[in-house]
Every structure is written in structure tokens, then in C-alpha cells.
């Protein structure tokens, strides 16, 4: 998964201003609220950051795939910290983060800190990475359960604590649409398929889907497959992402077929956009919009999609759109897929360690939730700080240790597979290549060692 692009809003603004500057001024003029404006008092008080030491005008660079409003919100969350301890934090968000990092690390020009959405990709650079120091480790251990820390650990050494976390196995729907149609939220996968059929029979295309995401096109599809594999069985899922079984195992092909019942059926997709052949070219940011217009009933996307709705769409259980958990095969057993970014570092500088320690603190995670739509698995973070009801629910689920949950498989797999072959494989599959051929192509791309 990648949760970086918040471009469409901007892009639309640019297009709109070309067409009608007056309209654009009202629609896209000032952001509704300046990020950072609503920070609590304790955040601006420098005593809060006394433990981090003080630095004299040092600069720490952070690279990530986070751009646009989301980047501004992130910068706002650490602004007081940076000011108080005397560190200038330079954040640079890139749309081609994955390839940039390789060039920069190989060229000896790595940023001080990089936020990797994919641990699989991150650990290709482990030789150049600097482990977390004792303070950061302490903060991380306080903040996350061991399961979470394990994703950023190699050979017992913690390299990269998590940053944001997203709960991914959600379906966005319109409460009023469901009420008007007399539809109930499905408790099991079978019920969901029945509901899909009913909605289609009633004349609405039930699902809207979009896989387009520039260079990363196809990743929303990997989330669908991962959810399906997890519903086949969690053991199968673990074997699959660790490559104990080949990618083209019959169980995985079954998962493709399970998803294919929805995604490859022209009667079930692509509400508001067209047919199956529009999935690959519909941008993932805009894919769910027809839900708010009643042209599509359901959109499977992570909690972070909350930030992508147009401004006039209200996210609430009694609002325009809301979420339910993608059901499992048994009632009450809905496994959850989650993703995260990891804070890796390429510099052993004291100031860099201080920033890393702050990024692992409960203070930062609480602040970050107040500056924008954001979710985290940090135990010290209060779910009530999240921006809307859907995000509150997502944070609660991320804190719930009793839930069957797994890390996003494609991000966990080696970069050659999880950030390349699996993505393009999803597009091939939509284009008519059989699940057997797609999975065996991806299997061939798995690095041999």
C-alpha cells in the first residue's frame, strides 16, 4: 500500500482555476483550517520538550512519500518541538520516493531520516541504516506492542519504529443509501456477496474500485488480495508473505478467484466510473467518490481514505459516508489488515536521534492526530484525538490486541515483488490474464536468496 497521494484536490484546483478563476477562488482558496492552529497549549510550551536536549540551529532532513496538505499537517505536528529544541527539520515529500531512495542511498546522499511505507523495501538498505539509540528504543517500547516493533527489527536490533498506522480492511458506504434501500451491513463474506447481488439487481452498481496511482498503480489491488488470503486462513497468509509457500500456491489462486467474483464482474463494478476496464485507470483517490453520490454502494479502502473525501462530504455514522469492517467468513470474525510507515535513519547525529525519539513519543502521535486525518497504533495516543468517527474507530481497532490482524503483505514482501511485480500483476489480472499465470509470474519475480 501507499498512502501518499493527496494530489487530486490540488490538481482539480489547478484545472478549475484554468477554467474559472472566480470559482477556484471560492472552492480552493484558503484551506478550511490552517494546520497547527488548533494545537493544544502544552504543545507550544517548551518545557514539554526539555528531555530532548537543546541544539543550536542544526538541520535534520526527512524524506517521505507524503506530499500536499498531509505534509503540511505533519510538519505542523513537529513544529513546536523543532523550535524549542533548536533543530530545523526539513521535510521533502516525493512522488517517486521508492526510486529516489535507491539513487540517494547508493549515491551516498541519503536523507537523515526516511519514512518507508514498505519494510520490505526499507530493509534492502539495512547496511546503510543506523539502529535506534537507547532513548528511541525506550520510547518505542513504551509506545508499541512487540508485534509492531518486530516489523522494524532485524536480528534483534530495532532499526525503525512505526510512524502512522492504517487499518485497511474497511468498506466505505453511504448510511443513507443503505437505509433507503433497506440494506443491512453484512456480517459475513457470503452476506456481503448476497448484498452485492441484491444491490446490482436493484439497479445500482455495487462496488467502485480504482487501482491507478502513478508509478505505484495496482497497489489497491494487492490490498484486496491480501484481505482475501487472510480470509482463506491466517496461517496461509503468514506462509505466503514469508515465502514458505510459492506465490502461485493454489490457496492464493483461490483468493484471486474470491476477489475476482467482484472485481472481474461487469455487473458488480465499477459504479460511477464504467466497467471492469476502468479500474486500472481510475485513480485510487477518486475511486470512492461515487459512494457519496449514490452511484456506487461500497468502496473497499483503508481508514486513511477519510482524508480523501471532498470537503463537503461528512464522515460519520449518521453522515454522508462511513465505514464497516470487511467481513470474514464467520460472523464476528473479521480479520484486519494494517499498514504503517517506518522511521528509518541514515545518520548517527545527536540531533537526528533526538528527532527520532520525538517521532516515537506519545506527544507527537497525539499532536499529529489533531493536525489532520491520521491514525496510529501508538499505545499512548488517545483515539478521541482522531479527526472523525471513522478514524476514531480505526485507532481503537489498531489498539485492540484481541483482533486477528496482519501487516500489509505486499509491503512486507521484498521490494521486487511487493512494490513491483505484485502491482503490475494486479493490472495484468484485470486485463484478462488468468490468476494462475499472474501468480506464477509474480513467483518468478521473487528474489532467489
Amino acid at each position: 500500500m501507499k498512502k501518499d497521494r493527496r494530489l487530486p484536490k490540488r490538481f482539480l484546483c489547478v484545472t478549475a482555476s484554468a477554467a474559472a478563476i472566480a470559482l477556484a477562488a471560492t472552492a480552493c482558496g484558503a484551506p478550511d483550517e490552517e494546520p497547527g492552529e488548533e494545537l493544544p497549549d502544552w504543545a507550544a510550551d517548551c518545557d514539554t520538550y526539555a528531555d530532548y536536549g537543546s541544539f543550536d540551529g542544526e538541520t535534520v532532513s526527512i524524506s517521505s512519500s507524503i506530499r500536499g496538505d498531509e505534509a503540511d499537517e505533519m510538519t505542523a505536528a513537529w513544529s513546536s518541538f523543532a523550535e524549542c529544541v533548536g533543530i530545523t527539520i526539513q521535510h521533502e515529500g516525493s512522488g517517486t520516493f521508492e526510486s529516489d531512495m535507491r539513487v540517494r542511498v547508493d549515491g551516498g546522499n541519503a536523507p537523515d531520516i526516511a519514512l518507508f511505507p514498505q519494510p520490505g523495501l526499507m530493509f534492502q538498505f539495512v547496511d546503510n541504516m543506523v539502529p535506534a539509540d537507547a532513548d528511541t528504543q525506550a520510547a518505542a517500547q513504551e509506545g508499541w506492542t512487540q508485534d509492531w516493533l518486530d516489523y522494524g527489527t532485524v536480528d534483534g536490533q530495532l532499526y525503525a519504529p512505526p510512524h502512522s498506522a492504517n487499518a485497511k480492511s474497511f468498506v466505505w458506504y453511504s448510511p443513507s443509501f443503505f437505509e433507503d434501500g433497506g440494506y443491512d451491513i453484512p456480517e459475513t463474506w457470503d452476506e456481503m456477496m448476497d448484498l452485492t447481488e441484491t444491490i446490482a439487481a436493484d439497479g445500482t452498481t455495487p462496488w467502485c474500485v480504482g487501482f491507478e496511482s502513478g508509478e505505484a498503480s495496482g497497489w489497491p489491488g494487492t490490498d484486496w488480495i491480501e484481505d482475501a488470503v487472510l480470509r482463506e486462513s491466517p496461517e496461509l497468509y503468514d506462509d505466503w508473505i514469508d515465502h514458505n509457500i510459492p506465490f502461485d500456491d493454489p490457496g492464493i489462486v483461490d483468493a484471486f478467484d474470491r476477489v475476482g467474483e467482484i472485481l472481474l464482474n461487469d455487473d458488480y463494478v465499477n459504479g460511477g466510473h464504467g466497467g471492469v476496464n476502468t479500474i486500472a485507470t481510475t485513480s485510487f483517490q477518486e475511486a470512492g467518490y461515487p459512494v457519496a453520490d449514490g452511484e456506487c454502494a461500497m468502496h473497499r479502502q483503508a481508514s486513511f481514505y477519510s482524508a480523501m473525501w471532498p470537503d463537503d462530504v461528512e464522515v460519520a455514522e449518521d453522515g454522508d459516508v462511513f465505514i464497516f469492517q470487511l467481513p470474514g467468513d464467520e460472523p464476528g470474525d473479521a480479520p484486519m489488515l494494517f499498514g504503517s510507515e517506518f522511521v528509518a535513519s541514515f545518520s548517527d547525529d545527536e540531533a537526528v536521534h533526538a528527532v527520532r525519539q520525538f517521532l516515537a513519543s506519545a506527544d507527537y502521535h497525539n499532536l499529529r492526530m489533531t493536525t489532520g486525518s491520521w491514525t496510529t497504533a501508538h499505545q499512548g495516543a488517545d483515539p478521541e484525538n482522531a479527526r472523525d468517527d471513522a478514524l476514531v474507530r480505526a485507532v481503537e481497532i489498531l489498539h485492540d490486541e484481541t483482533m486477528t490482524s496482519r501487516f500489509d503483505g505486499s509491503d512486507y514482501m521484498p521490494g521486487e515483488v511487493g512494490a513491483a511485480a505484485f502491482w503490475t500483476g494486479m493490472l495484468d489480472w484485470l486485463g484478462g490474464t488468468s490468476a494462475e499465470d499472474v501468480t506464477s509470474n509474480i513467483e518468478n519475480a521473487w528474489p532467489s536468496d
Binding site: S217, N270, H273, G274, N277, T278, A280, G415, E416
Partner: protein, 313 residues
């Protein structure tokens, strides 16, 4: 910084000239030549020869650049089904683009030759040359855009809808998507072909054409037997230039499809393998294949140049 660089540059030139002066006084022509060639040789070595040798070396190593794998990367290029598509696409590009772009350019040049407003016609077709490949790709991506239903923003699909057809996802249908991408490069390059060939047409001596007409040649015969042979060198230059441009084509594919939907070409997947997947060996092997594919074109060009020099002598 800039001042320092300029000063260093001037210093190097002064030293070089002084050195040449010294050597020239001793009267050795070969030595003087060597002094002037040395900087060029040095820069060529550092900027071209060494990287080329290193690429050649890397192409026989695996992704990490640590294990020697002989020709495994080349074997991958010629046996992997994905890589085969890339070779096939590249072949389509390099055969179709120069032929069609030169053909249209020549036809256009002949049609507007000597007409009123020729300069305007020429600048019209030359204008796309002023647009960068990425810019052209963005424009054409809008033209090919596909939406479900009847509300299209893509010109091509809107035309299809007007004619009563179903909108198509053009850029997802192989091999049509590659052909549609080729159209973009043709659109950009036709202007270049027109301008060069039009200039060549003006260079044909009027006496030859007159003589042909007096001998009773039809316009068709005149075109094939007089015009074409007279501008043959210009045609070759145009074809070779466009061939090389299509061989190393990267921007259009990257911008329009990102190499997805089986539209990848060698230059694009070279970058993808090396910098996205970290398969430096495969990337280098693709670079070598690209290099080998350029060789015959360059060799042909050099051969032609030599022959012309001999003819004019």
C-alpha cells in the same frame, strides 16, 4: 562558486595554450595535436569510455553487483516473457516511427514545396518539435483518456461516442497501446523530417528537373527517379536520427503508461530494473542490448558519410 569555476576554466585554457605554444616551438606536429587532444580524451574517457566499460561489466553481475553470473541477465532478456514483450515493442518503435514520420514528412514537404504560405505550413507541422516529450505525452494522454459511460474527456473516445461506438480503454489494449504511443513520437518528429527534407528539395538543381520533364517524365516518374535520388542523403539522415530517437525513447512511455499494460520499451525498463527494482545487472544488460541495437544504425551512417566524401572528392 560560479566565479571560481570560470576562473579555473580560464586557468586550464591558459595553461593548455601555453603548453601548446611551448611544444609548437619545438616543431613536433604530433605532440601539438596530443596536447590539444588530451583534455578531450580525458573527458571522453571519464564521461563515456569508463561508464560504458563499467556498464558492460555490471551486465554480468547480479542485482547486488557482487556475484558474477556470466550471461544470465542476457538470458533473462531473451527468455522472460515480460522482457520479450519489451524487445518486441522496441522493434515496433524503431521500425514504424522512422518510416512513417519520414514518409509523412516527405509527402508534406513535396506538397507544400513552392506553394504560397509555405513557411506557415512548415511552422505548423514543426511546432510539436518545440514541445518536450513529457509535455507531448501529457497532451496525448488526455486525447486517449477513457471514462466509463458517455461522458468522455478524451478526444478520441468522444469521437468514438459521437460515431455511436463504445469508448475504449486505449492505453490498456496491447499491442494497440504501443501503436498509439508511437503516434505521439511521429507527431513530434514529422516536423523535423519536413523541415530537413524541404530544405533538401530546394537544393535539387532546377536543370535536372527540367531535363527530366523535357524527356517526357510523368510527375510520378520525376518524383521517384529524380527527386528521391537527389535528396537521398537527407532522407538517410532523417531516418537515422529518428531511429535513434525511437530506440532510446523513455519519456513518452514513462509519462503515458509507466511501462504498464505491456507498453515497456528497452530504455524505460532499463531504468525500471536498475532504479526501481535494484536489479543493476539486468538494467546494465538492457543498456548493453540497446547499445548493440544502435551500432548497425550508426555503422550505416558512418559508411554513408564516407561514401559521400569519396564521391565528392
Amino acid at each position: 562558486m560560479l566565479g571560481l569555476g570560470l576562473a579555473a576554466f580560464i586557468l586550464v585554457i591558459v595553461v593548455l595554450l601555453a603548453l601548446a605554444e611551448l611544444v609548437a616551438k619545438r616543431g613536433s606536429k604530433a605532440l601539438t595535436a596530443a596536447v590539444f587532444l588530451a583534455p578531450v580524451g580525458l573527458l571522453l574517457g571519464a564521461g563515456l569510455v569508463v561508464p560504458a566499460a563499467r556498464t558492460l561489466g555490471l551486465s554480468m553481475f547480479d542485482g547486488s553487483g557482487e556475484n558474477f553470473v556470466w550471461f544470465a541477465n542476457f538470458q533473462w532478456i531473451f527468455t522472460d516473457s515480460g522482457a520479450q514483450i519489451i524487445l518486441l515493442n522496441t522493434l515496433l518503435w524503431v521500425v514504424l516511427t522512422p518510416l512513417i514520420a519520414t514518409g509523412i514528412g516527405l509527402l508534406y514537404a513535396v506538397l507544400i514545396d513552392g506553394k504560397r504560405g509555405e513557411a506557415i505550413y512548415k511552422s505548423l507541422v514543426f511546432m510539436p518539435m518545440a514541445i518536450s516529450f513529457v509535455g507531448a505525452a501529457v497532451i496525448w494522454r488526455f486525447i486517449y483518456d477513457h471514462r466509463g459511460g458517455t461522458d468522455q474527456i478524451g478526444l478520441l473516445n468522444q469521437v468514438v461516442v459521437w460515431l455511436g461506438g463504445e469508448p475504449q480503454a486505449w492505453l490498456q489494449m496491447w499491442p494497440w497501446n504501443t501503436l498509439l504511443l508511437i503516434v505521439v513520437l511521429i507527431w513530434v518528429q514529422t516536423g523535423f523530417a519536413t523541415v530537413v527534407l524541404s530544405a533538401a528539395l530546394k537544393g535539387i538543381p532546377a536543370e535536372i528537373q527540367e531535363a527530366a520533364r523535357i524527356d517526357g517524365a510523368t510527375p510520378w516518374q520525376e518524383f521517384w527517379r529524380v527527386t528521391i535520388p537527389s535528396i537521398r542523403p537527407a532522407i538517410i539522415v532523417v531516418v537515422v536520427t529518428i531511429s535513434i530517437a525511437s530506440l532510446k525513447l523513455f519519456d513518452i512511455v514513462r509519462t503515458m503508461t509507466g511501462g504498464q499494460f505491456r507498453t515497456g520499451v528497452v530504455a524505460d525498463s532499463m531504468w525500471f530494473q536498475a532504479f526501481r527494482l535494484g536489479e543493476a545487472g539486468r538494467g546494465a544488460a538492457l543498456a548493453v542490448v540497446l547499445f548493440i541495437m544502435v551500432i548497425p544504425i550508426v555503422a550505416y551512417q558512418v559508411h554513408n558519410l564516407k561514401r559521400r566524401q569519396e564521391e565528392t572528392r
